[in-house]
Structures are given as C-alpha cells and as structure tokens.
C-alpha cells in the first residue's frame, strides 16, 4: 500500500476547500431534511383550513 498509495496528498489549500465543501453540503442536506419535516406539517395545516 505504502509504495502505491503515494500520489496527490492534498495541499493545505485543497484541504481547506474540501472542509468548506463538506460544511456547506452538510448544512444543505440538513436544511432539506428540515424542509421535509416542516413542509409536511404545513401541508396538513393548509389542508385543514
């Protein structure tokens, strides 16, 4: 493994960019989940009016 698992170790800048991407996409999917949760409750409330 050590001999072949060489190539591109990520640069510090690339790691920072990846951390930003990770944080952004985690927040995005969290927001989608929250939207499904609240969306269905609102949907039922609207239907009941």
């Amino acid at each position: 493994m050590a001999s072949e698992a060489v190539s591109a170790t990520l640069s510090v800048a690339a790691q920072q960019a990846r951390r930003r991407r990770v944080r952004r996409s985690a927040l995005l999917f969290g927001a989608i989940a929250a939207a499904f949760y609240l969306g269905f409750i609102v949907l039922i409330l609207m239907r009941g009016r």
Binding site: M1, E4, S7, V12, F29, Y37, F40
Partner: protein, 535 residues
C-alpha cells in the same frame, strides 16, 4: 486555520488511538463507530428476535397460551420497531461506516464528531423504547405503523414511543447526511462516480431516501404528539381531522423505508457475486440506473399499502401500475446478478451462499409483492398472513441475509483472520432451511384467511402455525452461531493477507488486514483505483 491543517497533516501517520472506554465513548474513528453500530444492531436483532420467538410461542397452538392479547400486540409492535429501527438500519450504518471510507479512498467519514453523536443517540432511544414495557399500560401495542386513533389511545408509553421515534429519526438523518457528504466530497482523486463500488452507490441512494423520508415520519409523529397533548386534531375525526391522512403520510415514509432497508443488500450482493464468480459484474451502469429508478419509484407507490381505505379508481390504477413498474428495474438487477454467474468459475463460500439465498428468496418476496399490488387481489390479502409472509421474505432472507453476507465477506478484512468456514456454512444452511419453514407456510395461512396481529386463531389454521413456529424456534436458535463465529474470528484464526478472497476487487482489499486505524492517510494512486474498479 492553515497552520492547523499543516499540523494535522504532519501528524497524519501517528496512531492517535485512545485507549479504554474513551476509545469508544469519544470515538471519531469510522471503524470503531462502525463496530459499535454493528454490535448495537446485533444486540437489537436478538432482542427483536426474542420478541418474535415469544410471538411464535403464543401462536404454536390455537387458544390463548401464555400472554394476554394486549401484551401480544405489544410484542408484535415492539418486534417490528426494534428490528427495523434498531437492528437493520443501524446494521447498514455500521457497514457503511466501516466500508465507505475504505472503498472510496478516504481517511475517515467527512463529519467524524457528528458520526459519534448519531451513534450515541441510539442506545438512549432504544433504552427509552424498550423500558416502555415496564410502565403502566405496557409497551405501545398499536402496531409499528402507529395508526390513529388506536395509537392515540396508548397509555403512559405514548410519549416514550414518540420521543424514541424522534431520536431514531435524528440518528438516521445525521448518519445519512454524513454518508452523502463523505461520498460526494471525500473520494480519492480518480475515484469517479461510475468507478464507485455498488455498495457505495446503493448507500448513496439510500442516504438520499433517508434524508427525504425520515423527517416526514418525524413530522407525522410530532402531529400525533400535539393531537394527544395539545388539543390539536390533525388526525382526530371528532375535531375535523383525518385519520386516513396519517396513513398517507406514514406510507410516504414507509414505502421508501422498505428500500432503505434493502438497497444496501443489493450493493453487497453486487460485490459478492462477481467475487465468487471470478467475473466482473454484468451491466454495472445498468445496475446503478436500476437502483436509482427503484428509489424514484418508491416515492410514488405508497398507497398500495392502503387500497382498502377506499380511493378513486384512477388512484387505484395509478398506484397499482406504478408498483408493478418496480418489477422492471428489479428484474434488471436479478437478470444481471444471474448473468454475472453465467459461465463464471463459481465457488460457494458462506458470503456467496448467503448472496444466492438472497437472490432466490428475495425474488419470492418480490413476486408475492406483485400479487399484493393487484388491487382486487389485495382486497382479499389485506391484513392476512400472506402480507406477513411477503414482507418477511423481503426483510429476512432479503435484508438480513444480505447483511450477513456482507459481514461474512468483510469480516476477514476487519479482523485479519479467516473465520470458521465450516461453522459459517452450518449457519447458512440452518438459516436457509428454517427461514423457509418459518415463513413459507404463512402464505398458505394468509390465503386461507388467517388475519395478522391476533394471538388466537381458528383451529383450521393450527397445523401450519405449528410448522411455522417450529421453523421460528429453529431459525432463532441457529442465529446464536453468528455472534459465536464472529467472536471466535476476532479472537484468532488463520491469518490472511490483503485479499481474503482471490476474486475480490475494490480499494478495501488494497489495505492490510486488519486495516490501520486511519485507512487512507494519503489517497490511493490512479493505478490502485483502476485495479480496484474492475467492473
């Protein structure tokens, strides 16, 4: 920040493994968290299985034998909740934790602290749920579907049920976010989407399903909670609410949930069959598109679970036909698995045996699903043991066998030892025989009209119930072999090299066995990735 990252990089090769209880409680390591998920799932499997054995004990003979009907209903409800949310879902998350970083060339999951948090929610959720057996009125008994108005009449255990469902849902959503974010952001350079192993693909799609539907279940039970305690009438007909609406919302979650439970098994079988056929997977891209199609279709078929509530003819036709459409991508998968084996150099080690049993028996579950999709037929089958037989064929030899196949496939990688193949083969044959003795007669019982969720039944159903119960005891007892085989393997055995199986491909087999505490501290090279992605 930059200095911090540079410091991290400089220490990447150090083994920061903590020791003692801190290693587990504070763990942010994907393998340790994966191990905890798997141990938790196995524990829940035996608790849920214990409830199933009690159910079969009561049904061994007609008449009330051991339990009062309320407790029997609690057993069926808790068996389902524990098996679905406690055994199968955490089991898949455990396998995802172990395998996804290794398979995509990542050092760990993208969000390790969130990973720790999403695991540690679960013991609290299930302690709360299981302890509801000991409160006045007993555990929830309204079925795992929690339909109002029945479930709204639950006693002191009602808030325990609702809170534990919320906790399980939160754990699943956080775990799913972690999986998606890991796969989308942490793949090694050169690991393109269409080079990913099928297990990673199926988990990616499963995670999308989880993010979409678990919040819907959470919303439904939140509304139940407010109906019970805050005077709202979302689902209470007396106040203008609609109990059938709950069924629609529940099954909007519930049907994709079936695929959440089974898609990772598709991925595992797609890894195992090529390995033990010594051939690349037939139609890799078709398999990916088939899984995506199944996931999409799973959102538009929910009302086939509730044809008998009454709905317009157009709706009945739509849900019947869309359900039948699922057979097309599923057929593609079954065809491709069979075509992979065609003229292959087959061998039948325990993972392959479990994968083949999955293939045959899951297909039986699929066929009975097609029968249930036909509206006029469903009117007859609804709430009979035929439905019980159908979904147990999907979930036991489907999901559970798929998970066992995965554990037997990767266990040598995890431990560095080969397990006792003879004992594992015994485990397979006992499971495969008894699972059919247990569930196949339930088709006959259902077609003869035996209703589900009853502790007593008419005498004409006695013979097949006795056979089914004997199968249940045999299946339950034979599962004790599984933890024993794992424990024995963890303690020692024949040492293996990087590859446990000579036909295996994939990045995980490029790592030593057992893999180091941090898997891919530097990304694998293009050559290693190309060798691993031999499909």
């Amino acid at each position: 920040m930059a200095e911090h990252l540079a410091h991290d990089a400089a220490h990447d090769d150090h083994d920061h493994k903590p020791h003692g209880w801190r290693r587990w409680v504070y763990s942010t390591n994907h393998k340790d968290i994966g191990t905890m998920y798997l141990i938790f799932a196995c524990t829940m499997f035996f608790i849920g299985g214990g409830a199933a054995m009690l159910i079969r004990l009561e049904l061994f003979k007609p008449g009330l034998q051991f339990f009062d009907p309320q407790f029997f209903n609690s057993l069926t409800t808790m068996h389902a909740l524990i098996m679905i949310f406690g055994a199968i879902m955490p089991g898949w998350t455990g396998l995802a934790n172990w395998m996804i970083p290794m398979q995509v060339g990542a050092p760990d999951m993208a969000l390790p602290r969130l990973n720790n948090f999403s695991f540690w929610i679960l013991p609290f959720a299930f302690t709360l749920l299981i302890s509801s057996f000991f409160v006045p009125g007993g555990a929830p008994a309204g079925g795992w579907t929690m339909y109002p108005p029945l479930t709204l009449q639950t006693g002191a255990s009602f808030p325990m049920l609702i809170f534990s469902i919320h906790l399980m849902g939160a754990s699943s959503i956080l775990g799913a976010i972690n999986v998606v974010v890991t796969i989308m952001n942490m793949r090694a350079p050169g690991m393109t989407l269409l080079r990913m192993p099928l297990f990673v693909w199926t988990w990616l799609i499963t995670a999308y399903l989880l993010i979409a539907v678990m919040p819907v279940l959470a919303g439904a039970v939140t509304m139940m909670l407010t109906d019970h305690y805050f005077g709202t009438t979302f689902f209470t007909a007396a106040g203008g609410g609609d109990p059938v609406m709950f069924q629609h919302i529940f099954w909007f979650f519930g049907h994709p949930e079936v695929y959440i439970l089974v898609l990772p098994a598709f991925g595992i079988v797609s890894e195992i069959i090529p390995t033990f056929s010594r051939k690349p997977l037939f139609g890799y891209e078709a398999m990916v598109y088939a899984v995506a199609s199944i996931a999409f279709l799973s959102f538009i078929v929910w009302a086939h679970h509730m044809f008998t509530v009454g709905m317009p003819l157009a709706a009945q036709l739509f849900f019947m036909l869309s359900t039948m459409l699922i057979a097309v991508p599923t057929g593609v998968k079954v065809f491709n698995w069979t075509a992979t084996m065609w003229k292959g150099s087959l061998s039948f080690e325990p993972p392959m045996l479990f994968a083949l049993a999955f293939l045959f028996l899951f297909t039986i579950g699929g066929f009975s699903g097609l029968m249930l999709a036909i509206v006029p037929a469903d009117y007859q089958y609804q709430d009979t043991y035929f439905v019980v037989a159908h979904f147990h064929y999907v979930l036991v030899p489907g999901t559970i066998f798929g998970m066992m196949a995965g554990v037997y496939y990767w266990l040598p990688k995890w431990t560095g030892h080969m397990y006792d193949l003879k004992l594992a083969t015994w485990h397979f044959w006992l499971s495969a025989i008894f699972v059919n003795v247990l569930f196949f007669p339930q088709h006959f019982l259902g077609l003869a009209g035996m209703p589900r969720r009853i502790p007593d039944y008419a005498v004409q159903f006695a013979d097949w119930n006795m056979v089914s119960s004997l199968g249940g005891f045999g299946f339950g007892l034979s599962q004790l072999l599984f933890p024993y085989i794992i424990w024995k393997c963890v303690r020692g055995g024949v040492r293996i090299g990087n590859k446990a199986w000579e036909g295996a491909h994939g990045l995980e087999w490029e790592l030593p066995s057992p893999p180091p505490f941090h898997s891919w501290t530097s990304p694998p090279s293009e050559a290693v990735i190309a060798r691993g992605a031999a499909h």
